[in-house]
């Protein structure tokens, strides 16, 4: 008998809702020809029943084109996704497939997007996208970023305000020797659902640095999948989150080392308070042919409340022995000694807690290149403490 050495794949149960978008809904948004095949696949796919996020139903609002502008910056090409489709700029990039948080949502982005952009960066480029949920309660964005060989790109994306639904799919292609810095900021308390899927193709010698900053939405799924497809590719992801009230967040970061001599690092630091619930998943995948890989993952969560919950689900899957892979996680409460020390210096408890949390976030906040975003994050943080 031949015994297969494979793991049983977990199948996520699905649900359907009668109020779901139909193929025809994509018509109103323009570029129907481009959207149609995605829409057809979309209607065949169910929504994932996510246990940890307690997602078993969804309320969808009518689709509308995005009101206002959301895009600024300088790059060789920088267009809204709609414009890029009209001008035939997307081409082969659209065929880069990825699963994201769940196919239902990645398909939704492609079939029903009302925001998103296409950017090609050559030399230096800066892009800033700001989606305002207050005036656009449903934002579905679809974006592609191509950083050409040897170029440097800084992308900042902020999603803020109170809305209903935010679904996002972004593909990054980072070519040989290129550098990408991506600041991904979500400050959307009271928004019922945010599902954000990001895929990165990282080529030879390219460097990618991602900051995933999360300050609320009632339910959040954040997914970043890095494919290091050529040697010397390097990825560093820093995740910083602060969840309060009844908020739930499922954060999934995945390093796939598809080439030898690649380096990956996942780092998560966060705070939970009240009855919040955060799931931190870090997956490291090193296939057979990838020798000399270094990959590590580290997570620390500060829990401020006896009712809050933190799950850490780190996974390593290694098929080559010429590697170095590790993960570490710790979950704890405020360090009493630290607190006591600060209070003995005249700070009251609130101030001391504030200082400790600000200290955790400071290096990340300082790195944000757009002033208004930095301010929003600072404000978002202090209103949560």
């Amino acid at each position: 008998m031949i015994m297969e050495m494979v793991m049983v794949k977990h199948v996520t149960p699905e649900f359907y809702t009668p109020s779901d978008y139909k193929v025809d809904d994509a018509k109103k948004l323009g570029n129907f020809k481009w959207r149609k095949p995605f829409a057809q696949e979309y209607i065949e796919t169910g929504f994932p029943k996510w246990k940890r996020l307690k997602l078993s139903q969804i309320s969808l609002e009518k689709l509308k084109p995005y009101e206002g502008t959301f895009l600024s910056g300088d790059a060789k090409i920088l267009k809204t996704f709609d414009e890029a489709v009209e001008k035939n700029l997307i081409g082969e990039f659209s065929s880069v497939e990825f699963r994201g948080a769940h196919p239902k949502f990645t398909l939704m982005s492609q079939a029903f997007f009302n925001a998103g952009f296409f950017s090609e960066i050559k030399g230096h480029g800066n892009v800033f996208a700001h989606y305002d949920l207050d005036s656009n309660p449903t934002v579905i964005d679809n974006s592609i970023v191509v950083v050409r060989s040897g170029s440097e790109a800084t992308i900042t994306r902020e999603v803020s305000g109170k809305g209903n639904l935010r679904v996002s799919t972004t593909k990054f292609i980072v070519e040989e020797g290129a550098k990408l810095k991506f600041f991904n900021v979500l400050i959307a308390p009271d928004t019922s659902l945010s599902v954000d899927s990001n895929s990165y193709i990282v080529k030879r010698g390219a460097k990618v640095e991602v900051y995933d900053i999360i300050l609320g939405a009632e339910r959040i799924a954040s997914n970043h999948e890095f494919k290091l497809i050529e040697p010397e590719a390097k990825v560093k992801l820093t995740s910083a989150y602060f969840e309060i009230a009844q908020e739930r967040a499922d954060l999934e970061y995945k390093l796939i080392h598809n080439a030898p001599k690649t380096i990956g690092q996942l780092k998560g630091n966060g705070v939970v308070d009240d009855s919040a619930y955060v799931v931190f998943r870090g997956n490291i995948d090193i296939p057979h042919e990838s020798y000399d890989v270094r990959s590590e993952e580290e997570g620390y969560t500060l829990n401020l409340s006896s009712k809050a919950r933190v799950d850490a689900i780190p996974s390593l899957d290694v098929k080559n022995n010429m590697v170095n892979a590790r993960h570490a996680a710790s979950i704890g409460k405020l360090d009493e000694e630290k607190l006591y020390y600060m209070m003995s210096r005249g700070l009251d408890k609130r101030m001391a807690v504030r200082l400790i949390i600000e200290g955790m976030f400071r290096p990340i906040v300082d790195a944000i290149p757009v002033k208004s975003v930095k301010r929003d994050v600072e404000y978002g943080l202090s209103s949560r403490i």
Binding site: M3, A312, N321, A328, I331
Partner: protein, 457 residues
């Protein structure tokens, strides 16, 4: 361990059930064991669950495995005996090759030996019986201590826990029952040895251990089977109740032959200030899914899990641990080590859950994996669910190889490359292996040396 199948062919069987699982079979097993009605009902209820439940949606792939081809019940023609002389020669031969009677004479307080579906030998030292320690085969316990058995049997693991727990509940046969009265410290380990001797059979032994307040026990379980071309199934169950202030250590050496599917369930309920220690060594089987669990439901309860898994050619061993903290001031420590070599697949799967009410919990989970070559696979998935903020939780995992410098260093001291590798692997396993009884530790080390063609003794 013996691979000589000739011995087994000589053994006669008085009951040999047809493959497949159905109501009639369950009724026959129950009748042949002269069981009370409540046990028959439990079996039938379990069968219902088994037929309804899907296969687990994680772990090893068992889709190729034809469970209906398994012979669920095979009763050798041998009465359970308390004297080694009365055990039929053919069966005695097998166990003697495994060193069972010798071991008993030397170091054990009691020994039970199971051949296929039934226990053929059970003995306990007299001074322990006098202290009130009960060590019996499970069937006799059902008849002789119905009140105790009924209170505990399949309460730690209910039949609807998962598909193979249900299967076990339906067709269990054999296993041990241990009852240690209050404040009795059993000075030497008790041992059970399981042998699957026939091709295509399923072994479903049930071990039920109750360690009363302030008592202490070390129980050792060993498993082996000769290799056949058809698959065998082992789906045993261990339920342990560690009462207030008691200490229980459960050591296992699993060395099933490489045609065995080992889908086993082990769970301990740990009371106030009690301690549960699991020491598990998995080296055999084709595919294993085994996650010993400790439910810490009394204040100050402690659990220690020490696992060592060695997956070689053709093996997929999915092992791990499960610790559920339900009470305050409970603590746990998990140290899981694995080695994958020659195309083997070792996977650590763990769950650590700290409930809302379990404040001031301390827990550390460490997994380390050593990969011997680039044909092998290693993985870890330690899930941590922490539901309050008065918990101190740490976790670390590492997957790597033996560093060349280490090998060179040892070679420069005169060791061959194989000896150097074997020595390093032994060093890696040592913290867990040294927790095993001496003869098992030696066996483990010998196995490593064999794998590396090393001559280290």
């Amino acid at each position: 361990m013996s691979k000589n199948t000739k011995t087994f062919e000589k053994v006669n069987y008085i009951v040999r059930s047809a493959p497949g699982f159905n109501k009639r079979l369950i009724e026959e097993i129950s009748l042949s064991k002269d069981e009370p009605d409540w046990m028959k009902e439990l079996r039938l209820k379990s069968l219902e669950f088994f037929l309804k439940r899907p296969n687990p949606n994680f772990g090893v792939d068992i889709s190729d495995f034809d469970i209906n081809g398994i012979i669920p019940y095979l009763k050798p023609d041998a009465k359970k005996s308390a004297s080694w002389d009365e055990v039929p020669e053919e069966i005695k031969d097998t166990f003697e090759k495994l060193g069972i009677p010798e071991a008993e004479r030397k170091v054990f307080a009691g020994v039970g030996a199971q051949y296929d579906s039934e226990v053929v030998y059970q003995n306990i030292k007299k001074q322990l019986s006098k202290l009130g320690v009960i060590f019996l085969d499970m069937e006799s316990a059902v008849r002789e201590y119905p009140e105790i058995v009924k209170k505990y049997f399949m309460h730690a693991v209910p039949p609807n826990d998962h598909k193979f727990a249900a299967l076990h509940g339906a067709v269990w046969s054999g296993g041990s029952f241990v009852y240690v009265p209050e404040n009795v410290e059993v000075p030497m380990p008790l041992q059970a040895y399981f042998m699957m001797a026939s091709p295509g059979i399923g072994q479903f032994e049930h071990t039920l251990i109750i360690v009363n307040k302030g008592a202490k026990l070390h129980f050792i379980e060993g498993c082996s089977a000769p290799k056949y071309s058809v698959s065998n199934l082992h789906s045993g169950m261990v339920e342990i109740y560690v009462e207030e202030g008691a200490t229980m250590r459960y050591s296992t050496i699993q060395n099933w032959s490489k045609n065995t599917y080992n889908l086993n369930t082990k769970r301990a309920i740990v009371g106030k200030d009690a301690t549960m220690i699991w020491v598990s060594g998995s080296i055999g089987s084709a595919k294993t899914m085994l996650y010993p669990a400790s439910i810490l439901n009394g204040k100050g309860a402690r659990a220690e899990h020490m696992n060592i898994t060695y997956a070689g050619n053709g093996q997929h061993l999915d092992t791990g641990s499960k610790v559920i903290h339900l009470a305050p001031y409970t603590s746990s420590k998990v140290d899981a080590r694995s080695i994958s070599s020659d195309g083997g697949y070792a996977f650590y799967r763990g769950l650590l859950r700290v409930s809302k009410l379990a404040h001031h919990v301390k827990s550390s989970v460490e997994c380390s994996a050593l990969m011997m070559d680039d044909k092998s696979t290693s993985g870890t998935l330690p899930i941590m669910e922490i539901m309050n903020n008065e918990a101190d939780i740490g976790h670390e995992a590492r997957i790597g190889r033996i560093k060349e410098e280490q090998i060179y260093y040892l070679m420069s001291r005169g060791l061959s490359e194989d000896d150097a590798k074997a020595l390093i692997v032994r060093g890696f396993m040592a913290p867990v292996v040294k927790q095993l009884p001496l003869e098992y530790a030696i066996e483990f080390n010998r196995l490593v040396s064999m794998n590396f063609k090393s001559n280290l003794g």
